[in-house]
């Protein structure tokens, strides 16, 4: 590989992502004396959960006070201000590769920095790129007014705009409650929360975990707030169709059994002008995948990066933290970030920043939050019955307008026997989002999946599109 043109600055660690995990990892690694560069596509640190909002002390936090998110974020800002941490906002790493013992990380700017690209060389990398919404197609989900739960949160928190006056929230998991809470706070009416699983078991499961009681309390707090707003919280119900001509005007919901199969004769229509859907999250593993890191199936059945107890991946020098190792929420992300920061410093032969006792607390917290995540996924799994609602004319890939019938034809008539072939025959997942929205659903509909084939199919050569002119010029950032 000709690399003579890459006059990229070499740093100790590049941390990809400035959410709870990335911020925590950066602070710990910097405390050990590592030269750290943090790359994030958001305008401010904080990731999907904090979204740059100033940290609130009342946010749930465990362990030593100086390792709370509020303290870590304050220290991150100080270290960024003094130049110890090189923080690059509004940048996305579109590709990563190995060169000798180093990593080469290729960045592009967001639309404000169109055309700007830069390369970094680093001795170690922490992937803390979080997760994105999991989508499960159903008839009408492509209608305007239907959006992901994460998308609704972004809209409301980011710009104060509510997606509609009457917004149904549907899917599975406590995230639905958070989305509903945000919508209610901003003046929307929520006619119903449509939960496909039975959430009552969550309280028992979460309370059984040491430290999990606060989480189940938080959950109950959400539920009672919704009760005050008289929002019906329907269990074992799913939205089976979004109805509307130019945009969503109503949803058809139905009772489902434990496998999410519709109970005949239970469907009814709820009028609404928006629908927020959340079926959990898919770890953003692209960059680790480009390096060939080993993947495993996480507790929620999605593909995640395989890590050892120190959060080292199968690629030496590559670490992963937060949702990329298993979708577990913001607290799990923070403590994993702490450990990844400590592990990367150790890998580079730097003195430890955390005391042995501090590290023990971090490891114990990680175990706690992993247990919590398992309780979450055990209570709110995705069940196979969702596929029964997928008709041949149901849209699977919105970018390329591929319907379920075409996916089935590719397998039954054209001889596709792996997801790559299905995608090449139908163009599913080949559009603008590069399969982020439809891949997990198409994979599931095909039903081929081994971890390896899913992992191979999931590798995107470019995480985000890059202008050809910028690539051609090989422009370097100053």
């Amino acid at each position: 590989m000709a690399m003579s043109d890459i006059a990229a600055p070499t740093v100790d660690v590049v941390i990809l992502g400035a959410g709870a995990a990335g911020v925590a990892a950066a602070v710990v690694a910097a405390r050990s004396g590592c030269r750290v560069t943090v790359i994030d596509n958001g305008p401010t640190p904080g990731g999907q959960y904090y979204r740059g909002a100033p940290p609130i002390d009342s946010e749930p936090s465990s362990g030593p006070r100086d390792l709370s998110y509020a303290e870590l974020r304050a220290e991150f800002d100080r270290l960024t201000g003094s130049g110890v941490i090189d923080y690059r906002s509004r940048r996305t790493a579109y590709a990563i590769s190995r060169h000798d013992d180093d990593f080469v990380i290729r960045l592009r700017g967001d639309d404000r920095h169109r055309g700007e690209i830069a390369d970094f060389r680093a001795r170690a990398v922490i992937v803390a790129t979080g997760a994105f919404d999991r989508h499960l197609p159903f008839p009408g989900w492509e209608l305007p007014g239907v959006m992901s739960g994460g998308g609704a949160q972004l809209l409301v928190k980011g710009s104060g705009v509510i997606p509609g006056q009457r917004a149904v929230v549907a899917g599975t998991g406590p995230f639905l409650l958070a989305v509903s809470g945000t919508l209610l706070e901003h003046g929307a009416h929520v006619p119903a929360i449509v939960e496909a699983n039975n959430p009552s078991r969550f309280i028992t499961r979460a309370s059984a975990i040491r430290g999990g009681l606060s989480k189940s309390g938080e959950f109950l707090g959400y539920v009672s707030r919704l009760a005050r707003h008289r929002v019906p919280y329907l269990h074992r119900h799913r939205v089976i169709e979004a109805i509307g001509v130019d945009r969503v005007e109503a949803v058809r919901i139905a009772r489902v059994d434990a496998d999410w199969r519709v109970v005949e004769g239970t469907d009814r229509v709820i009028e609404c002008d928006a629908l927020a859907i959340g079926y959990g999250f898919v770890a953003q593993t692209d960059l680790a995948g480009q390096l060939g890191a080993q993947m495993v199936l996480g507790a929620d059945g999605g593909l995640v990066v395989d890590v050892d107890p120190n959060l080292s991946t199968s690629v030496p020098g590559l670490f992963a933290a937060g949702e990329t190792t298993g979708v577990g929420g913001v607290e799990a992300a923070r403590v994993e970030g702490l450990l990844a920061g400590a592990s990367v410093a150790d890998h580079l032969g730097r003195p430890p920043a955390l005391t042995r006792r501090g590290l023990d607390v971090v490891r114990r917290d990680i175990a706690t939050w992993q247990g919590f995540a398992e309780a979450l996924h055990a209570t709110f799994p995705v069940r196979d019955g969702w596929r029964d609602q997928v008709r041949d004319d149901t849209m699977m890939c919105r970018c390329e307008e591929v319907r379920a019938g075409q996916v089935r034809e590719a397998i039954d008539d054209l001889g596709a026997r792996d997801t790559r072939a299905v995608k090449l025959f139908t163009r599913a997942g080949m559009g603008w989002c590069q399969g982020r929205i439809c891949s997990s659903a198409v994979d599931s509909l095909c039903g081929f999946g081994t971890t390896q084939s899913l992992g191979d199919a999931a590798v995107r050569p470019l995480v985000v599109p890059v202008p050809l002119g910028a690539l051609a010029n090989g422009q370097m950032e100053g």
Binding site: Q290, R417, M430
Partner: protein, 384 residues
């Protein structure tokens, strides 16, 4: 199970073999260890080119093949996006233009339609092309096809004749031969399939499949990849590439060295590929090569500078030491035929390859001389 012919490989070449064998009245079983079109067929841009071939057996094969492609598209009702868009080869330097015109004149003598284009004329063919190009040659016979769909639709059509069975996810473990050395069928993990003819259409894995019958075939993989942009309104009408010529001092012949081939597709994306690379590729993405491809593409179509590269994809081209495919009966193993090693031209050459294989098996007159493609031509030769 038994049939007249077993075809190993359900890529484009295997599909064409099955198609023409069925047409000749033969019964066929197509086996593939994976998906239909799951190998190199799905890793290219679907080129059916005559423009990049110098006079000789490969050009003759290409000229025959493009006629057959047009016929097949007619028979199958345009179900695989065959587009007779034509190719435009452009020159950036005076010396190159001179070579290009000489090369085109030689091709014309061999039956290629090659129309010289002036610098100004380039813009009539391609309104968005760079203004600083010196001229070129237009090749109306160049075509493009969606290669995976072509393979799948051809196999679907062949199955509808009732003479063809397709078995995906069926790996051949051994090609069986009798005491006289003749092939008698294949063994898969679950069964034995007998047939007096076995066709090796395994593409890049053709050498491995030949080994299953204990014959040597020097087919090597060469990685190539293609850049795919975001979807755009139609901006590029033809296959467009810049020519460069590497003079072979010893023979005074000019060998064509192409840069990125740029073209639009039905879905609106622009593909930037390379028709024939002389450089080997690393297994991992080589970003320096991507940078060069981007550079070449932008030099020919400046508007591409603001267009986003969305993804890349790649695969392994199968090639032989003399860069010619292997087509026809293997005299070392009676009943065993090869149809592989087409390098970067497998889609384009598949149709003629399938026809010739069917003719060889049926014992009818061959549409052209296949001696230059003989499987045993490497015997005794030193293979590096």
């Amino acid at each position: 199970m038994n049939a007249d012919v077993i075809v190993i490989g359900a890529g484009i070449v295997g599909a064409c073999c099955a198609h023409y064998c069925a047409q000749a009245g033969l019964s066929v079983i197509v086996v593939d260890r994976g998906s239909v079109a799951g190998g190199t067929t799905g890793a290219g841009e679907g080129n059916i080119l005559v423009s990049d071939k110098e006079p000789g057996p490969e050009l003759d094969l290409a000229l025959l093949s493009r006629e057959l492609w047009a016929q097949m598209a007619g028979e199958l009702g345009d179900s695989f996006e065959l587009d007779a868009k034509g190719g435009l080869v452009v020159a950036t330097r005076a010396a190159t233009l001179e070579h290009l015109h000489r090369f085109a004149a030689e091709q014309a003598e061999a039956g290629v339609i090659a129309e010289p284009v002036t610098a100004k004329g380039l813009r009539d063919h391609e309104p968005h092309i760079a203004r600083d190009l010196l001229g070129g040659v237009f090749y109306p016979q160049d075509m493009q096809v969606q290669p995976m769909l072509a393979a799948a639709r051809l196999l679907q059509h062949a199955r509808s004749t009732g003479r063809v069975t397709v078995l995906p996810e069926t790996e051949v473990l051994e090609i069986e031969r009798d005491g006289s050395g003749a092939v008698t069928g294949v063994r898969t993990p679950t069964e034995r399939i007998s047939a007096p003819h076995v066709v090796n259409a395994a593409g890049t894995w053709g050498g491995v499949v030949a080994g299953l019958a204990r014959v040597d075939l020097p087919i090597l993989p060469r990685r190539g990849f293609i850049l795919v942009t975001e979807p755009l309104p139609p901006m590029i009408r033809h296959k467009v590439y810049a020519a460069d010529y590497v003079a072979n001092v010893a023979s005074d012949n000019a060998g064509l060295e192409t840069s990125a081939v740029i073209e639009g597709t039905h879905s609106g994306t622009v593909l930037i590929g390379s028709s024939r690379e002389r450089v080997g590729f690393d297994k991992t993405l080589d970003w320096e090569v991507i940078r060069q491809e981007a550079q070449q593409a932008v030099a020919i179509f400046p508007f591409l500078a603001d267009v986003q590269l969305m993804r890349t994809y790649g695969g392994f081209r199968p090639y032989c030491p003399d860069h010619l495919p292997v087509i026809g009966p293997d005299s070392r193993a009676p009943g065993f035929l090869h149809a592989c090693g087409h390098e970067g031209a497998g889609i384009g050459l598949a149709a003629a390859t399938g026809l010739l294989i069917a003719q060889a098996i049926a014992g009818t007159n061959l549409a052209m001389d296949i001696a230059p493609f003989a499987p045993n031509r490497f015997e005794g030769a030193h293979v590096a």
